[in-house]
Amino acid sequence: MQINKIKKDMTEILSDVFDGATIMVGGFGEAGSPIELLHGLIDKGTKDLTIIANNSGNGRVGLGALIGQRQVKKVICSFARSAKGVTFPELYNKGEIELEVVPQGTLAERIRAAGSGIPGFYTATGVGTPLAEGKEEKIFNGKKYILEEALKADFAFVKAETADRYGNLTYNKTARNFNPIMCMAADTSLVQVKNILEPNEINPEHVITPGIFVQSLINIENPIIETNAIEEGMTYP
């Protein structure tokens, strides 16, 4: 029997996602954002979600749409004030969605720590600012640092460029961003990928996410381009 992590459709790949789940969503703005997986979650109607992502969605597409459908109770992100953000500000200003602000590098490192079995680490980022409030401090070599804890998730929703059936992934340019570390930090990583190759077609030197961090794949050959979709007035569903 051969390992094959490729699922046949959206229903199958999303079958284990549950109400109340914590989901990491890859991408920096639209680059690397798994829009089709997020739309699948809208179709499925999963609710009370906590989303960990860098941003909080644009327009009414992808993460913006999921938030607009009121399926998200909390967002943990570094920058929830996007130029094209619509749904998050609406709910936030009404007090109907929670926000936890995390500095971008601390967010990345907390995610990487969770994937690496590091429950906590010290950083100088945020020291002396409101985001350090309530955090343990420690001095190393005369300088003050704060303790940050690992940030885990039940699922990671990830967008990749190429994959093989083992779940080895490569990305396209700056669409890499948070995707590789989110694969590491989630119990289950679900990946939408443009191209599926044979295992011997990905050079082992060039693999960015080794298959050990990936549980399921779905082939989305022509993903929605968020900028174009928003310009065209697309809303989902």
Binding site: G105, E109, R176
Partner: protein
């Protein structure tokens, strides 16, 4: 409380002049992160006697200029989410590795905008305390970069000093700024106060002190 009638203000250097001063102070072979907005201008004034490598915190080292309309790739963007290019010798990495470059002290210079800078080098540039709080990578940059340069107007739009004894806005970092490039002067943060490195040719030290809420020294 200093409050200037904005109609009385002396016109300082324009933003291109400020950018060229910063460009002059970035040494050959340095790794630089330019903040979104005004700091982006700096890259246009680098002289030919040096090569600078630009880092964008979303996993891009060796960032080049904006692409032509027909070369835009929405998977190749900068930290401001605008399309950019990559130069030969550039590379992509994931977010944890990108912030290792920042937090680990490998970025030689970052150039950021400011709302307030205190006399002890505290910086406030991420939150007015109103609206949706959004910090991005600013706190990591000021905590990690070897040198934190601020590029700013000396006064706010309604004529209040941005260089202050103590910041009133939420901090981005405490004691992090090394140098300030304003339209009125280039100033270092020192134990004795804001130390003038270069003064705009149209103003005096006394005038600079009158629009600065914190000790000016020479």
């Amino acid at each position: 409380m200093i409050n200037i009638n904005i109609n009385d203000l002396i016109k300082g250097w324009d933003r291109n002049t400020i950018a060229s001063k910063i460009a002059n102070d970035l040494p050959h072979s340095s790794y630089v992160n330019l903040g979104i907005g005004m700091p982006e201008l700096v890259s246009q004034y680098i002289k030919e006697d040096r090569e600078i490598i630009y880092h964008s915190e979303n996993g891009l080292l060796g960032m080049g200029p904006s692409p032509n309309e027909n070369e835009i790739d929405l998977d190749l963007i900068n930290a401001g989410k605008k399309p950019v290019t990559i130069l030969p010798g550039g590379s992509f990495c994931h977010h944890a590795d990108s912030f290792s470059m920042i937090r680990g002290g490998h970025i030689d210079y970052c150039v950021l905008g400011a709302m307030e800078i205190s006399v002890t080098g505290d910086l406030a540039n991420w939150s007015t305390g109103k609206g949706i709080p959004a910090v991005g990578g600013a706190m990591d940059l000021v905590a990690g970069a070897k040198n934190v340069f601020v590029m700013t107007q000396h006064l706010t739009k309604d004529g209040k000093p941005k260089l202050v004894q103590k910041c009133s806005l939420p901090l981005t970092g405490a004691g992090v700024v090394s140098r300030i490039y304003s339209d009125y002067a280039v100033l270092d943060i020192t134990d004795d106060g804001f130390k003038v490195i270069q003064l705009n040719e149209d103003i005096t030290i006394e005038y600079l002190q009158s629009v600065t809420d914190g000790n000016i020294c020479q």
